[in-house]
Amino acid sequence: MMLDLSLAWRNVLRNRRRTLITLMTVAMGATALLLLGALMSYIVLEFQTSAVRRTGHLAVFKKGYFDYGAGNPAAYGIGDYDAVLATIRSAPGIQPYLLVATPTQIISGVAGNFQAGTSKTFFGQGIVPADRLRMREWNEHRISGLEVNAPPLSRANGVAVGSGLGRILQLCDPRQAAGCAPRAAVQRAAAPVDAEAADLIQLRQREVGAAPAAAQDRQAIELLSASATGAPNVVSAVVERLDTHGSKDLDDNLVVMPLPIAQQLAYGRGAPRVTALNLQLKRTEDIPAVRAALRQLIQSNGLDLEVRDFVELNAMYGQIQAFFSFLFGFIALVIVVIVVFTIMNTMGMSVMERVGEIGTARALGVQRSSVRNLFVLEGGLQGVLGATLGVLLTMLLVALVNAANLHWSPPTSAGEIPFKLYLFGSLPLMAGVWFALTCVAALASLFPAHRASRMMIVDALRHV
């Protein structure tokens, strides 16, 4: 084998210019694939990090909520959720993997700025701010630029409103469209767009004896929602901040609030429940184990619950992955075709130049299979060298790009984050591209190698 390898190596070096062109073609193919893979890895992991920070790795819902509950979240509340959470947190199959387990209430309704006479439908998320702050610190893949900078909700009735919704409710200065920071209350004649909602809000204010929201030191809004039975619930809340989420849909609709406010809106004076129990794990790879443990726990306790992972909860994550997989596959196919034709051409020319040698080797007793194997080995060797060169070139380019301090705005982020290529965390990708191109090069040599092995000896010798 070593002698074959030595012979193959010497043959590869015979026509150095042609070999160099072949190696560069394979190397460029490897580099293109690896750079694309590194970019994809970074984007997917950045998206995964954002998704896991938002929803956790797993969410436990009342059975049926995921498919039918969006229209009426209050009807799918998990009762006695503290006990369920405690059971989950202490379960042996879950506890070692668990970072945060926190309840969430989803609601929808109408948000109004009574003083400005504006209102708009919203969807809301009731959270435990301290838990959410911990969730936002999760960074398994050490993606830089995603540092937590928004403060947690500090007031019992403080809410964070999407910047678009804030704009519609006139909670910010329209001239500050980009940041849309809260401003002093807009004093103007009330002109409610939704008379029924305004009536309910006024009733609520009288009921609790609250001062008009606009008179408070911060901008305030009123939130109206219906319980599972259709009874209206109203809450006055103080806008602590306006958030930009990087999605117009979220910016125009989302109101994040402390869990008790959301529960009050969803259940009124009824027993508080929650829509979901979100679980954030230390490592993403532990999802299957924890999911299995959760299923077992739910089954053994006879709970009417179901478990969904972050991929199911964030449909766009799956779509982005599928899109990139398709893109990668398509580009890989193009590169494979280029490599195949380059290697076939190189090896074909090599065979034509060595017809006499092939005849001589066969006359000396070299078997057809050995002739074929030698040419395949030469093709494979060029694949190995080209792919290795490509990996090294990619490492260099990735290091240069990552050191260049570039920034960009990913689809899930409101602001710019550092632009990085995530290569070193993608060892399977590197190994896979290297191995695949080596195999492709060897396989592409098969046809010319076979042709060489089938030559008639006397015909081949006549070429000398």
């Binding site: 015979r14 066969r362 000396l364 057809r368 050995s370 008639m456």
Partner: protein
């Protein structure tokens, strides 16, 4: 050792048939230095190719060491060639990427011989042809005569039954040609093997134990020792 019975070889190109050899019957027993002489196109190379198992006869049988090589499957025939037949070519046909030593050793790699024995034999032959000081040289660093010496060493290193040389002096000047024929003669005696070589050069006829002449695909006898039956 070598027996050809009614061997013919016809090449076809479209509707045209060329009879390169016609009904050749001959027997060669034991070692010796046999020369095949004849004009271009008379069938010398075809005869050597058939004896060397590089080609198969259109008709007739060829036996080497009692084995019918005409009917052997390719794999067995290749192995037979590796073990029993050495070749010396007009254009030397050395592997350009291998040194002189490696070219000689290359012939033994196909026989599965142990490495130490391979090295011993290779060194022995390299010294025998007077190229010990050039063992590491590549073919392009050797003269024509030196290259043919390497080819002779390569042909003999496996101790073959037969060494076939197709016009081994054609690409050499007369002095080198004579030197190579003398070397082949010397090696034939030293290794007690059977040499069959073809040539145009009538000056070399004096070196042969036996001479065969070919003309229009027919082989005619020339000397004692070769039992030749032609058009029997």
């Amino acid at each position: 050792m070598l027996q050809l019975d009614n061997v013919s070889k016809t090449f076809r190109s479209g509707t045209i048939s060329v009879h390169a050899l016609r009904d050749v019957t001959l027997t060669l027993d034991g070692p010796g230095f046999t020369m095949i002489s004849g004009p271009s196109g008379s069938g010398k190379t075809t005869l050597l190719n058939l004896i060397g198992t590089l080609d198969r006869p259109s008709q007739g049988t060829i036996r080497i060491d009692g084995k019918d090589v005409g009917t052997m499957p390719d794999r067995a025939l290749t192995r037979f060639r590796a073990d029993h037949i050495g070749f010396i070519f007009q254009s030397f046909n050395l592997m350009p990427v291998l040194s002189a030593y490696e070219n000689v050793e290359y012939a033994l790699l196909q026989t599965g011989m142990p490495a130490h024995e391979r090295r011993r034999r290779t060194n022995e032959l390299i010294e025998a042809v007077g190229l010990a000081s050039h063992a590491a040289h590549r073919p392009n660093q050797l003269s024509g005569g030196q290259r043919q010496r390497v080819a002779i060493a390569r042909a003999l290193v496996k101790r073959p039954l037969l060494v076939l040389a197709d016009e081994p002096t054609a690409n050499l000047d007369s002095a080198n040609g004579r030197a190579i024929v003398e070397l082949m003669r010397d090696m034939q005696r030293r290794f007690d093997t059977a040499f069959i070589f073809s040539t145009h050069d009538p000056m070399l006829l004096g070196h042969a134990d036996r001479v065969l002449t070919t003309l229009d695909g027919k082989v005619t006898p020339a000397a004692a020792g070769m039992e030749l039956v032609h058009d029997a």
